[in-house]
């Protein structure tokens, strides 16, 4: 037991895309994911949060084995993923995507959609496929009659249940949920979240939950990683992140949660400006132009990740450089470092 590997491990994973700037212009590199190291242990729910354009979905595609990293390594149960065939990865890792309207083939019945993975991977005898699919549909709370329906006959919540059934019919170990409830109504969102919680307990699943909704992440995740412009800037247990966040960006995100509690007014996130252009990332710490606690040092050098008992954080306020070299400390920032 002592040599148990994490279910999924990312080691300094990088991915750059070449982006066209138009006719007669040379393509420009866009660094979507720049050196991410993460561990996903069996049975945990890792919440990955960040604004649009921060590289969450690129990371998800790489974790699914659908996109190869340019550098770094992804290990599935201790084995390099690059060396494994696609079908072997697909049996263990399955995705659930945001939009249940575009991820189901409109010309296939629900039964055909859910049993397709069984057919492709030749799981069990062909005569059992229909029954297995029906059992899975029932398990996700759909009546047996939808087996012969088409996706356009179902509501948004029902479609998302079909997508979940399709992901789980192969009994994967890891499910990557990319914004699983963002396209759904509030009352339906709660139904789907409850279903995900139940299924995880029953089928012993591990989730990578990607969401911009921090309240949803807090409810489901056991650990949280915060991503900003292709880097993980803070990763820790859910209680730590929501109780004592260390990175200024995490704190700003937490302030932006609008809880249904009246009387407090619109929160001030103290975050300035818009998300930076990933084609032209800021120097030094990529968050410094928006950071309320930025020091002169932050625009010059990028912080290094600091690991300790409280988790991981990548910020000059915490990596020791500030205390080591007090001249780096800005006048107004001195008060907030403690």
């Amino acid at each position: 037991m002592s040599t148990e590997h994490p279910l999924l491990e990312l080691r300094d994973v990088q991915r750059t895309f070449a982006v066209s700037r138009g006719f007669l212009h040379r393509k420009q590199p866009l660094r979507a994911v720049g050196g991410v190291s993460l561990e996903l242990r069996r049975g945990e729910v890792l919440g990955l949060v960040g604004e649009s354009g921060c590289g969450k979905s690129t990371l998800a595609l790489m974790a699914l084995g659908l996109l190869q990293p340019d550098a770094g390594e992804i290990l599935l149960d201790g084995q390099p993923m690059a060396a494994q065939p696609r079908s072997a990865i697909a049996r263990r890792i399955q995705p659930i995507f945001q939009d249940p309207y575009s991820t189901l083939n409109p010309r296939k019945t629900v039964g055909a959609i859910v049993s397709l993975p069984l057919r492709v991977h030749r799981v069990g005898a062909p005569q059992t496929w229909r029954r297995t699919a029906q059992e899975m549909l029932e398990r996700v709370g759909l009546p047996a009659r939808v087996h012969d329906s088409y996706p356009n006959q179902l509501s948004g919540g029902q479609r998302q249940r079909v997508a979940i059934a399709r992901a789980l019919v192969m009994r994967p170990e890891l499910v990557i949920c990319d914004e699983p409830t963002s396209a759904l109504d509030v009352s339906v969102q709660a139904q789907i979240l409850n279903l995900l919680i139940e299924l995880r307990r029953e089928l012993n699943l591990t989730y990578l939950l990607i969401s911009h909704n921090l309240a949803v992440v807090e409810h489901l995740a056991t650990r949280v990683a915060v991503m900003y412009l292709g880097r993980i800037v803070e990763a820790s247990s859910t209680g730590q992140v929501f109780g004592q966040a260390r990175h200024p960006y995490t704190r700003a995100l937490l302030k932006s949660i609008l809880t249904p509690t009246p009387g407090s007014g619109v929160p001030d996130t103290q975050i300035e400006g818009a998300f930076p252009n990933p084609l032209d990332p800021p120097s030094g710490c990529s968050f410094h132009p928006r950071c309320a606690e930025a020091l002169p040092l932050c625009s010059r050098s990028a912080p290094r990740p600091l690991m300790d008992a409280r988790g991981m954080v990548e910020c000059h306020l915490h990596d020791g450089t500030v205390d080591a070299a007090p001249e780096n400390r800005g006048g107004e920032a001195a008060a907030v470092t403690k």
Binding site: E51, S52, S155, G157, Q158, D185, V186, S187, V188, Q189, A190, Q191, L193, N194, I197, E198, H212, N213, L214, A215, V216, E218, H219, L220, A221, T238, F242, A252, L253, L254, K255, S256, I257, L258, T259, P260, T261, P262, G263, S264, G265, V266, P267, D268, T269, I271, A274, F275
Partner: protein
Amino acid sequence: MALLDVRNLSVDIRLAGGELHGVRDVSFTLEKRKTLGVVGESGSGKSLTALALMNLLPHAARRAAQAIYFDGVDFCRLSEKEMQAVRGNSVAMIFQEPMTCLNPSYTIGDQLIEALRAHRDVSSTAARERAVFLLQKVGITGAAHRLRQYPHQLSGGLRQRVMIAMALMCGPRLLIADEPTTALDVTIQAEILHLLVDLKREFDMALILITHDLGVVAHVADDVAVMYGGQIVETGPVEQLFERPLHPYTEGLLACIPIPGKTRPGEPLGSIPGTVPTLIGDTAGCTFRNRCSHAQPECASDDVALVRTADGRSYRCCLTPAQRAVR
């Protein structure tokens, strides 16, 4: 006198499968300088209500209302030409997706200036000055330079700011914002809401904020109207409505939302079983009854009347909250 007084507004849409009763007997008032939050799920009729106020409904839709008084003028009695003079002038509207509302082939400046010159007899220099002033007000730096840019050159947050500036060009008395922050990131959402609250105060406007997000309503609105199945099922001041909801649907909605620090992580959330009902054809009885844990046989019989409480709230349910607690 209230700034806006909507009485018995209904919208029916002719569809191949029958008549869709999208908005059913909606009445509300809005005082000057107040914010009304209209919440509901998709298909509850909240956007349709806003479009009906402005008479911007699709061709297949029919509007019926006893009256829609805005500042003493009944919108139901205005001709299309008179209504056009109101839109974008004394009542302005902003929408969820700013990219589809801005014309991609004109500069920001052209569109802002046109918004003012369509209603007022001002020189283009004066209109340009107003545009620069408002772009600065909505927090856009380098306003003069931005006027020459096209919508695709701006980020989502900036486009929504431009939309807000455009809505303010004529100094409206009422701003209707339909899901203004739904397409934006959470940090940008907080900024835009801040901006709306500040501008409302500075320019002396009333605001109707349409959203599915109870969190947004809680932080911005003075009064709330909860819509379900084309009807207003509950209204009241924001604090009281969130503190002690009177309608089972409002109660259910509030229980659905995870709140950091309040809901226990990993525990099941409250949820409303089933899905939103279809509004096509016969809609007699309470539309929420097939999802309601307190449903009684009498819920199916007649249309449920709006009950008004002594403290100025109202709800549409056969049972009083006290009766529901007992059963």
